[in-house]
């Protein structure tokens, strides 16, 4: 069976169109700070289209891997402010694939509530640290005078 029979659109044309859209979005980010998300899954991209877009965007300096409710990959492209994000599903395939135009993608930022929760945990950890007991390291420091 011939399963690959999408409409006869040139592989590069959709990638070029999205590339141009991202260029406009990047100008918006630079001038107004407005962020943009392009959901690649909602567009009729073929694997060749995706490869063409990825090739045009290139690779930047930052590459992150997240483990939160499954694996995610966040990669900066060669254009600062344009990020390629993939969230991986249970079967290893991308359940979300998007290009985010932002200074930092939201998923990388620590949420204020998480920071507050972490601060409480850390304070508790400090309070539970034994005090007045001399550790081996302390004795070594003292012996050095």
């Amino acid at each position: 069976m011939n399963a690959d029979c999408a409409a006869p659109v040139a592989a590069a044309s959709l990638a070029d169109a999205v590339f141009a859209e991202l260029a406009t979005a990047l100008v918006r980010l630079a001038e107004t700070g407005e962020e943009t998300v392009v959901d690649l899954k909602s567009l009729p991209f073929s694997p060749a289209d995706l490869e063409a877009l990825a090739a045009r965007l290139g690779t930047g300096e930052v590459s992150c891997e997240l483990e939160v409710a499954g694996r995610s990959e966040v990669r900066e492209t060669s254009y600062s402010g344009i990020w390629w994000i993939r969230h991986i599903g249970g079967d290893g395939s991308a359940v979300v694939e998007e290009v985010v135009v932002a200074r930092v993608p939201e998923i990388l930022i620590s949420h204020p509530d998480d920071v507050a929760f972490a601060a409480r945990r850390m304070r508790e950890a400090v309070e539970q640290t034994p005090t007045g007991e001399t550790t081996a390291a302390d004795e070594e420091d003292m012996s050095r005078g």
């Binding site: 069976m1 006869p8 939160v68 409710a69 599903g89 949420h111």
Partner: protein, 351 residues
């Protein structure tokens, strides 16, 4: 049971950050075609929400809907929904608990009065006093009326609950009806399909949870986000239809070449569902991609529409009259059925 902690705090206690909500919302936003701003709002609202009390009633059904949702493509992002809800009662999964779980249902109803969601799979038999399907000594009808009374909303999952489904097929020996035929004073959301796409079920629950309101529905009570598009309009075989290239049998050259399955009975042109875009088993395939026509399982009375292998032109009423003649003219068929689909979609959007 009633929850005091927010979902954000709850996940944090398990070492999961708010990033999980950002990720979940962007996934759901992609599935439901939400705007980035709405997805962002959903992430924030989900983190602040309390776990949703859910009571799941199983009536005249085959358990396929429960199988579909519990075996969705986990155990990662897609499974987060099970952290977002408190499944306080499930007829089938908790059957062995007997009286204890019936007490749990009553306790959940009391503690979450006006807030809990009832999910129903299966139709309700009304003939002969409803004796054809009972649980814990009560007819499905009585259980539904009692449980729905203080619910926030009802979700009918599967075509049996949504439209009567296979139990209602001719000659409907048990007098089966849908949930919407009985419940008239609450929002009833239909997620039809045999079974429904798991993401349509979990996505609708997450939407209710995040925004506290029913998503936009079509004229058959289905969320437009998942049922707003026609299988045929989004089918990858559509170009063959437009060119008049049809498989005439499942073993002919047309079938081997992946041509349109319209003439071997595909009901895609009259079926609204997300199978062609979301697909099944984590996006692996859907019936048409696997070589079989669409059965139209998310439409009312799909079992009684003249046969799965009979072309639409020979099976049902007004659509058949319009499409029938055109189908004989090869490529013209594409124009005719596309017009029917567009008309239906236009009516749907207006409705």
């Amino acid at each position: 049971m009633a929850e005091k902690m927010t979902l954000g705090d709850r996940l944090a206690e398990h070492g999961v950050s708010r990033r999980a909500f950002v990720k979940y919302a962007s996934w759901l936003g992609s599935l439901m075609a939400l705007t980035p701003a709405t997805s962002k709002a959903m992430a924030a609202e989900l983190a602040k929400a309390k776990r949703q009390s859910v009571i799941w009633l199983s009536f005249q059904e085959c358990t396929g809907c429960t199988e579909a949702i519990t075996r969705s493509n986990g155990p990662t992002l897609e499974d987060l929904i099970f952290d977002f809800i408190s499944l306080d009662y499930h007829h089938t999964l908790q059957a062995v608990s007997g009286e204890a779980i019936e007490e749990a249902r009553h306790a959940a109803m009391k503690e979450n009065k006006g807030k809990y969601v009832v999910i129903v799979d299966g139709s309700v038999p009304l003939k002969d006093g409803g004796i054809y399907s009972t649980t814990a000594g009560h007819s499905n009808y009585d259980t539904l009326i009692e449980t729905a009374k203080d619910a926030f909303a009802i979700i009918s999952v599967g075509t049996c609950a949504a439209y009567g489904g296979i139990p209602k097929a001719n000659p409907n020996p048990t007098g089966a009806v849908s949930i919407g035929d009985i419940i008239k004073d609450k929002p009833v959301i239909n997620i039809p399909g045999c079974p429904p796409i798991p993401e349509a079920m979990t996505g609708t629950v997450a939407y209710l949870l995040a925004f506290g309101k029913v998503p936009e529905l079509d004229h058959l009570g289905r969320p437009k986000a998942f049922f707003g598009e026609n299988i045929h309009d989004r089918c990858y075989r559509r170009p063959f239809y437009e060119r008049g290239q049809f498989a005439k049998a499942f073993d002919d050259e047309g079938a081997r070449n992946g041509w349109c399955l319209y003439e071997v009975g595909c009901k895609g042109p009259i079926t609204y569902n997300a199978c062609a875009t979301m697909k099944w088993n984590g996006g692996v395939s859907f019936p048409i991609q696997s070589g079989h026509g669409c059965l139209g399982c998310s439409e009312p009375d799909f079992w009684d529409k003249g046969g799965f292998y009979v072309p639409l032109s020979g099976s049902i009423g007004p659509t058949a009259k319009l499409v029938g003649g055109a189908a004989l003219a090869g490529a013209v068929a594409g124009v005719a059925a596309a017009a029917v689909a567009r008309h239906r979609k236009s009516s749907l959007n207006k409705g």
